[in-house]
Symmetry: C2
Subunit: 191 residues, 2 copies
DNA sequence: AATTAAAGTAACACAAGTGTCACTTTAGAA
DNA sequence: TTCTAAAGTGACACTTGTGTTACTTTAATT
């Protein structure tokens, strides 16, 4: 019945991601996005009422993909295996923490779809936390984690670690290996 | 000879910081700044030609203050003392890494004052690195730091650590203490 | 008291973004 | 082939921000 689409939703989300990373939340505009996709600005309004709606939709999309992968953590049964899996997952999805950061900038919006999206995002966030909390609980159970360190810091420092800028272009495998070493046993020699 | 100023340069820089933290680089405007300072937008143009010039000037101001404090690191002579000092300094100046991040967003500008500011900023950045490199060199000399971990990661993870969001409001002293523990000896028990 | 010059204002022309709407295009159903 | 409805366009009115300029205000100097 309908005409062929000039851009897929996936293409749109990818362009959205590129723009958000380059220009930040406040620098994002439908004009930029339309330009990137080589379509008219008006076409985007066929699918999204405004910036907030588009961006929260994009974040839902990203978050769902990430959660899908994160769930695999349950297939590993030791703390060590889960830890290795988690670090690699986060490095593979290195934009996720940045997007979570950008997500904090989305202003409260009257639009019901936006409210609904934000609600759903919060649920996914909770879902994510459940999986991560399970990981930490196991670490505590196995007596692997230092009791004095709060859960939120353990998760926070793991997530934050992937945002450390690798200015000198250390190879990814060495980089991740070193981060893991610091997170597990610190940067100081033991003796 | 002149009329009294309605706002000091310090007030202007503080307002600039508030706006940058709240709205990001792209969300910063002279209109917002003028509103915050309760002056007309035009008044700002008496001192700065445009956004880039103002923001690079503000960053120079912040960077100089930070470097002034950082220099005190030379007064400590052991690696441990320097480390403690550095962590506390960074936590006291928690906006500095965010500002460095925002600084990366400033586009190349034809304005000569902006070019000059960016040049000066790069020099201060180098200056900062010299002090930090000295700190790391000492750690290597004292055989405190693990040889396998690259310098840039050691500095990167220290700087990044202060941006970990403390969602659950852990008390600052416990928070910093725990971060120091992880950075030094990791989150896993040794045995 | 008159003069000076820095400090500040308000209005202008311009640029870029927003959301809307009447319009055209086009693939498939009738 | 004709019709339909989704897809896309381009123009319109509006808002917000920019950089400039002629203007007013004011505190110190002469």
């Amino acid at each position: 019945m309908a005409r062929e689409r000039k851009f897929s939703t996936d293409e749109l989300y990818h362009a959205t991601e590129r723009i958000l990373l380059k220009h930040g939340y406040e620098g994002f505009s439908f004009s930029l996005l339309a330009e990137q996709l080589d379509i008219s600005r008006g076409a985007i309004y066929k699918y999204f009422d405004n910036r907030e709606e588009l961006i929260t939709n994009y974040m839902l999309y990203e978050m769902k993909l990430f959660l899908e992968e994160l769930k695999i953590i349950e297939e590993y049964h030791s703390f060590d295996e889960k830890f290795t899996f988690l670090l690699e997952l986060i490095f593979k999805n290195s934009t996720v923490p940045q997007m979570i950061e950008i997500g904090r900038r989305v202003p409260i919006n009257e639009n019901n779809k936006v409210k609904e999206n934000i609600g759903q995002l919060e649920n996914l966030h909770l879902d994510m936390y459940k999986h991560l909390q399970g990981f930490i609980d196991l670490g505590r159970q196995e007596q692997k984690l230092k009791a004095s360190i709060p859960d939120s810091l353990i998760l926070g420092i793991i997530f934050q670690s992937i945002m450390i800028p690798n200015h000198f272009g250390i190879s990814p495998s060495e980089w991740v290996q070193s981060i893991k070493e610091i997170l597990c046993h610190g940067m100081l020699k033991n003796d």
